[in-house]
């Protein structure tokens, strides 16, 4: 790599880091329950080396906070990376989201390196990197303290190492490719299915390219980290039953095969990929697709090129694209980009292939074409970003459980360092997890012992008690009004949403 290219890459990485970390505390507008739980466990790990259940440096993290069917087990990569950040940063929203930003930046750098190497075309590398960096789905998921984006760097690393191996036939490089898949196995729950699938695809490519003899290096690289999983499973045999129960995989309510075919097909719908990105407002603004509009032309072009040339890496990437929605289909989830984020890197790579192929028509226009694609992408992203930091926050507030932390922070502030009984409305979902997070962040875990839940507003609480009330519930709102009118309580603070509506109130006895 030349020095100017390296400098440009570093500049790009810096720009992406700045873009991705801008207003990390309040965009997404609030923390999701998953983020809170991950933050709590990572904080415990950073502070004590143990998870919330007291296990020392666990491989997987048992989560009981959600009180759902079965036990949830969270993957280790996000926990340890977040814990590493919390070693040097306080427990805040931006701190627990920073690891995702780091992952996002790494993805962009790897994408450039991979596309440039694979296509032997620096312009295609820049196009790929920009398309990934400005992809609405990639941008949004690089700002969550959740692990959906975590498999991507391992996938890109695997592809990069494999592309080097296919050029140079160095077995140790193949082992590194396997290693990337092996470590990626621990990045997100879908990786448990997808990483082995990618390994099988690797073996098929090796066979096709006459390198079948080197398969043991790929497997050894993969098996090394995954052996930890095997050992762990042997000690936790109930985890499969827990996971099946958690996702209701054996339930009679699950959809049939035909409906699954339909769901799978819709993951490749132009509407989903290029226009609205899915229906869940946590993971999509609904006014931008998963990928940028430039891919509407480049992606089909890339697919046609792959089908015609049938080069190994191209076929592998196409297989990756086709496999990406499978975990979501297993879970009966349609339009859930968070479960099918593999669509993003594979989609971008195919777009880069398409770009590179189209440029062979008029090679002299390559730089101009790249500049046009990038400019168009920047323009589209600017529109998306304006909405993301603006009206999207208002539209999505309810999906992020409303401003619970605002109410809890008001309570902590009101205690002014002292000890006061605290009552939390039990109709607020996951309020106990949010409370623990707030207390840990404010170093006021002493208040935990004084905290109670309630379902009906009780006027017999001790004087000085602070209550958080969910006034989006009409019955609670009416009870609160009556309590305030009776002068048994007085209003401490109204907690508002971005659109000005009041969702919670903090009242004092």
């Amino acid at each position: 790599m030349t020095r100017p290219t390296l400098l440009a890459l570093l500049l790009l990485a810096g720009a992406v880091a700045a873009l991705y970390s801008y207003r990390l505390s309040d965009a997404p507008v609030y923390l999701t329950p998953d983020e809170v739980v991950i933050g709590l466990d990572a904080h415990a790990l950073a502070s004590t080396g143990r998870d919330l259940r007291g296990r020392l440096v666990p491989l997987y993290f048992q989560i009981d906070e959600f009180r759902v069917k079965g036990t949830i087990w969270y993957q280790p990569v996000i926990m340890y990376l977040t814990a590493a950040v919390l070693q040097v940063a306080p427990l805040t929203a931006w701190a627990i989201r920073t690891p995702a930003v780091i992952v996002g930046v790494v993805n962009v750098v790897l994408m450039f390196l991979l596309a440039r190497r694979m296509l032997r075309d620096t312009a295609a590398g820049w196009v790929a990197a920009i398309l990934l960096a400005l992809s609405p789905a990639h941008f949004m998921h690089s700002r969550f303290a959740m692990d959906y984006i975590y498999p991507v760097p391992f996938v890109l690393g695997w592809l990069y190492a494999l592309s080097i191996y296919l050029d140079r036939r160095q077995p140790r490089v193949l082992a590194i490719a396997g290693l990337c898949l092996g470590f990626g196995f621990f990045s997100y729950i879908t990786a448990i299915v997808l990483m082995p699938a990618y390994l099988i695809a690797t073996l098929l490519v090796l066979r096709r390219d006459g390198a079948a003899g080197d398969w043991r290096y790929a497997i050894a690289g993969f098996a090394a980290p995954v052996s930890l999983f095997v050992l762990w499973i042997a000690l936790h045999l109930g985890v499969f039953a827990d996971t099946f129960a958690r996702y209701e995989l054996g339930s009679e309510n699950r959809i049939g095969l035909l409906d699954r075919c339909g769901l799978y097909w819709r993951y490749f719908s132009p509407s989903f990929l290029f226009f609205n990105g899915g229906s869940q407002l946590v993971f999509s603004t609904r006014v931008a697709g998963v990928l940028l509009l430039a891919s509407l032309v480049l992606l089909p072009a890339g697919i046609i090129v792959v089908l015609r040339r049938a080069a190994s890496m191209g076929v592998l990437i196409l297989i990756g694209l086709l496999l990406a929605p499978l975990p979501a289909i297993v879970l009966d989830e349609g339009s859930a980009i968070n479960r099918a984020l593999g669509l993003v890197p594979f989609g971008v790579l195919l777009s880069a292939i398409g770009f590179s192929a189209l440029m062979t028509v008029r090679p002299s226009y390559r730089s101009v074409a790249a500049a046009v694609v990038i400019a168009a992408s920047v323009w589209q992203f600017a529109i998306f970003q304006a909405d993301y930091f603006g009206d999207y926050r208002r539209r999505a507030a309810s999906w992020f459980q409303f401003n619970i932390r605002g109410g809890l922070a008001a309570i902590v502030e009101r205690t002014a360092g002292g000890q006061r009984p605290v009552y939390l409305d039990d109709t607020i979902r996951w309020v106990d997890s949010y409370w623990k997070f707030e207390l840990a962040a404010a170093h006021r875990l002493d208040l935990l012992a004084l905290t109670r839940g309630y379902t009906h507003l009780d006027r017999n609480v001790p004087p000085g008690s602070l209550l958080l009330v969910n006034v989006t519930d009409p019955a609670m709102a009416a009870a609160t009004t009556a309590a305030l009118n009776s002068r048994d309580f007085h209003l401490v603070r109204e907690i508002t949403e971005p659109d000005g509506t009041v969702s919670f109130v903090v009242i004092e006895r």
């Binding site: 035909l258 339909g262 097909w265 819709r266 719908s269 132009p270 509407s271 226009f275 609205n276």
Partner: protein, 516 residues
């Protein structure tokens, strides 16, 4: 095979196809849909008097109900049949059988030319013949299939000409597109797209710089379209009514330009992109089919299962082929759901019937490609896939004439036929007939069956009644009433007697004939 043998074989196959497609038209679909009744009544009127039901003489566009206007082609063809046949379910549906078989023959010719093979041309025809959705729509007395015949004629003329371009044939080809405007309202979308494809066709050909050919192509479309355009100029409200009917935009508030802007707004584009994609959903195409029981049985897809392999193989084969004909076929396949996309209706195969013949041609290309590959396994795969089709079709056919009738009767407005026949049989010269307004479309079915059974004079004795609001006491003795089974209690309490309980195939009592 000698030519004479081929001709005899072709004739035998044609007869067999006609029997398979044309048998028991009065049995399945179980009853006439309201659309069939409406078209048939207009056809019967035109056959008898030259005027439609509204009194227009040989109209170009036929007002049907409210804001809906019907295109004339199937009505005139049905009228031609009714000139020689008595009014019946069979006579009403026979024209569609003819059009369906015509499409099969056109597909044979197109595939034979495209693939340069008699054998695979026949395969394409067989694949279309065995397509459940094509079979179903060849037995419905509606207009959806007519535009397909016109577009196939256009395609045949272009493909036959390839690699050259004959101006006369080009004119005739696009003239078929102009004529298609009179066949089905969706042609308003399909025909201009096909004209655009014709321009693409010319641009890819040897004569791409001969501008005269482009003029010829457009003229061929415009000339037959002129009366259609003239009609709309003289009936300006019809366009707005049609827009409202399909809820494209509020034509009362927005003019055409504003409406077009609304259609291309981002949310509209996103929604329509999703609809478009869903028309290629394998679940829809190969497993479940149309969501409505009018256009599908729900037990098979639009196509039979082997097409799930043959169509993708065909697409791959055409991508590797040379020549502009393959581009035209693939492009036509891609734009086939356009009309359905504009009205944003998902999984309604009647709006995208062009998919069927084009898929058959593509599948035949796939079969040929597989057959020509090295390795016996490919040929065995083709044999197994093609052999499986009649087997699956047989199961579909059995269900179509069996349980499908039971599942679908509600979609076909219930057993109006037997109910009305019962009343007609009982009604004397002066017997008043009262028909409940809860029976939607009864005001179309009743006159149809009066003509069908030769009692048109009973229309003068007929009244339509809102059973909830009308004072039933004023209905005189001897009156006959037709109502839903669920509302007969009111009549029984008012002193009527049930004289016939009209049942469906599953013995459900759906309609009642009562008498005072």
């Amino acid at each position: 095979m000698f030519k004479a043998q081929r001709i005899w074989l072709g004739a035998a196959v044609a007869v067999l196809a006609a029997v398979v497609y044309g048998i028991a038209l009065d049995r399945s679909p179980i009853y006439l849909t309201h659309d069939e009744v409406i078209y048939a009544r207009n056809a019967y009127s035109i056959a008898a008097t030259g005027r439609d039901l509204s009194g227009q003489f040989l109209p170009i566009s036929i007002p049907v109900t409210g804001t809906f206007y019907a295109t004339p082609a199937n009505i005139y063809l049905t009228a031609a049949f009714l000139k020689v046949l008595p009014l019946s379910e069979t006579a009403v549906r026979l024209p569609s059988v003819l059009v369906g078989l015509l499409c099969v023959w056109l597909v044979y010719l197109i595939a034979r030319r495209l693939l340069n093979s008699e054998r695979f041309g026949a395969a394409a025809a067989a694949l279309l013949l065995l397509t459940p959705a094509h079979f179903i729509h060849s037995r419905l007395g509606t207009d959806h299939l007519y535009v397909v015949a016109c577009v196939l004629a256009w395609l045949l003329l272009l493909v036959t000409d390839d690699p050259g371009t004959n101006a006369k044939r080009l004119f005739i080809a696009t003239a078929f597109l102009g004529l298609s405007l009179y066949t089905y309202i969706g042609a308003l979308i399909t025909a201009p797209i096909c004209v655009a494809l014709t321009v693409l066709w010319l641009a890819l050909g040897r004569s791409r710089h001969d501008w005269g050919l482009y003029v010829v192509a457009i003229a061929g479309f415009v000339v037959p379209a002129l009366p259609f355009v003239a009609w709309h100029v003289t009936h300006p409200g019809q366009y707005a009514n049609q827009i409202r009917m399909y809820a494209l935009y509020d034509s009362r508030m927005l003019n055409a330009a504003e409406g077009a802007r609304e259609l291309i707004a981002p949310t509209s584009v996103a929604e329509r992109a999703a609809v478009y994609w869903d028309y290629f959903n394998p679940s829809f195409l190969f497993f479940a089919g149309d969501t409505g029981l009018l256009n599908g049985t729900r037990y098979t897809g639009v196509f039979l299962l082997p097409m799930m392999v043959l169509v993708p193989a065909g697409i791959a084969a055409l991508l590797f082929m040379k020549g502009r004909a393959r581009i035209l076929v693939l492009a036509l396949f891609a734009v086939a759901p356009a009309a359905a996309v504009v009205v944003a209706e998902r999984y309604r195969i009647n709006r995208a019937l062009m998919l069927l013949p084009v898929a058959a041609v593509i599948a035949a290309a796939g079969a040929q490609w597989m057959w020509q590959r090295r390795g016996r396994v490919w040929r065995w795969a083709v044999i197994v896939l093609i052999a499986a089709m009649p087997l699956q079709f047989a199961a579909f056919y059995r269900d179509y004439f069996g349980d499908y009738r039971v599942r679908s009767y509600a979609w076909f407005e219930y057993n109006m036929r037997d109910a009305m026949e019962e009343i007609i049989r009982r009604a004397g010269a002066g017997s008043p007939v009262w028909i409940s307004q809860s029976l939607q479309w009864a005001d179309y079915y009743w006159p149809f069956y009066l003509d069908r059974f030769g009692r048109p004079e009973l229309s003068r004795q007929t009244h339509y009644i809102d059973a909830e609001r009308h004072d039933l006491a004023v209905i005189g003795p001897g009156s006959l009433v037709l109502c839903r089974a669920g509302e007969e209690r009111r009549f029984l309490d008012a002193g009527f007697t049930r004289v016939a309980a009209i049942e469906e195939p599953d013995r459900t009592h759906s309609l009642s004939v009562l008498q005072r």
